[in-house]
């Protein structure tokens, strides 16, 4: 109950630092989900709707990357963007942008893998119909995405959920810097390490509320646009 009271006190009136942390969290999660979906959905649709040599190997590779540990993803991005790394000149370490890059590395395989499995199993009649009409592979993939958009929303939400709840990679590349790169999860970790368990739990409750609001909004948008 103490945690719920603290969560309420943080939100009403809103705490300035909390708002800043929520802002960074949302920015990072939305950008990384958007980029991952822009790459992963068409790729997943193509893999799911086309037969080609090496498809089985590619699927295995994607499924392996779906289980990529966040700290490993964080380390890969860190080593690429560190001062002596190949992209060191970009000076992006410990920024929100680099946190999004790490998230894209983590989430894109999830979006690609889940959407290709969905397309492969549920979109067979769409693929058969489209190919029968002589549509190109790209057009067939686009049709599959459009026809299965309600189901693909769960893929997008899964990606967003993974992004907003991730802590390992963002703390390595972002550094959990106050007023700069601190997000909800790294803030929860910090408060837990300080022994402020009920405050950390209050942040967790707020994080869950945000995730619920995003899910509800996305479901509403899809329902409104569903034209059967």
């Amino acid at each position: 109950m103490e945690s719920f009271r603290q969560a309420f006190e943080l939100l009403f009136p809103p705490d300035r630092e909390l708002l800043q942390i929520i802002g960074v969290t949302m920015r990072m999660s939305f950008v990384s989900t958007l980029v991952s979906c822009l790459i992963g959905l068409p790729l997943g649709a193509l893999i799911g709707s086309k037969n080609f040599r090496g498809k089985s190997f590619l699927k295995k590779l994607i499924h392996t990357l779906m289980g990529l540990p966040p700290v490993v993803a964080g380390l890969i991005v860190y080593s690429l963007f560190t001062h002596y790394g190949p992209f060191g000149r970009l000076d992006m370490l410990f920024t929100v942008e680099i946190m999004s890059v790490a998230q894209v590395l983590l989430i894109t395989p999830v979006v690609t893998g889940l959407s290709s499995s969905f397309i492969e199993t549920s979109s067979k009649p769409v693929i058969e119909t489209a190919r029968g009409l002589g549509f190109s592979g790209f057009r067939t993939a686009r049709l599959c995405i459009n026809e299965g958009r309600a189901s693909l929303l769960s893929v997008v939400l899964n990606a967003f959920g993974r992004s907003i709840a991730e802590v390992g990679a963002v703390s390595i590349v972002g550094g959990n810097i106050q007023w700069k790169t601190r997000v909800m999860t790294t803030a929860i970790m910090l408060e837990t390490n300080k022994g402020k368990f009920s405050f950390a739990l209050a942040l967790g409750i707020i994080l869950l509320m945000i995730a619920f609001a995003v899910n509800a909004l996305a479901s509403f948008i899809v329902r409104e646009n569903a034209d059967g």
């Binding site: 009649p125 058969e128 190919r131 029968g132 059967g228």
Partner: protein, 217 residues
């Protein structure tokens, strides 16, 4: 012109299609008949380029259209389901009229019955021009009236573009009324090849016997 020579399709050890020689002329309508698993759909899917053959050759024209056995309704109304092929709205309206669906044109395609959906799927295919039209059981979900509309539409399409039509069917009505030639397949091989009238009146052909001898359970 479609030319098939030594065409085989295997799934593991099982050979589902084994055709020595078979050809379909330009402008000809051919019905493929036979029991379930006799290789009708496999042959159509190979000609449509949807599956790879295991052996032999199957020469087909460049532009091929294929209507799958399982009909699918895209999102949106009936007109959109046809214009998605690139056809104009006027063509869509005319096709819906021809297939007896014009009274449903503004409705969601997903709300159609099985027979209506099958006719809509045919409209979608007929909205495009092709040299080879492949139809997998185009009347399987239709009632007698719907089947008659389908037969007329297929005939008109063939007459207007002069294309070759190959369709699989279990319906003697479709074979007799729409096809110039009937090819009966059994276990992936050609059992009979001739006019529908000759084959249906031949009691030596198992598939024909089913219809001439009547049902006995």
């Amino acid at each position: 012109m479609v030319e098939i020579k030594g065409l085989k399709k295997r799934y593991g050890e099982r050979t589902v299609l084994d055709l020595d020689e078979l050809s379909f002329s330009d402008g000809e309508t051919v019905a493929l008949a036979g029991a379930n698993g006799s290789g009708k759909t496999t042959l159509l899917r190979i000609l449509a380029g949807l599956i790879e053959k295991s052996e032999g050759t199957a020469k087909a024209p460049g532009s091929v259209l294929y209507l799958p056995q399982q009909s699918y309704a895209f999102r949106g109304d009936l007109v959109r389901n046809i214009t998605i092929t690139g056809a104009g709205k006027q063509t869509a309206v005319e096709l819906l009229e021809k297939l007896g669906l014009s009274h449903l044109s503004g409705k969601k395609a997903k709300s159609l019955s099985g027979g209506e959906l099958q006719r809509l799927s045919l409209c979608r295919v007929l909205a495009k021009k092709s040299e080879l039209l492949l139809l997998d059981e185009p009347t399987s979900a239709c009632d007698a009236n719907g089947a008659a509309l389908v037969i007329r539409a297929i005939r008109d399409y063939r007459d207007s573009c002069g294309c070759t039509v190959v369709m699989s069917t279990h319906s003697p009505m479709l074979a007799v009324n729409a096809a110039d030639r009937l090819v009966v397949l059994e276990n992936g091989k050609v059992e009979a090849n001739g006019t529908p009238e000759d084959i249906l009146s031949n009691p030596g052909i198992q598939w024909a016997k089913t219809f001439t001898a009547g049902w006995k359970i």
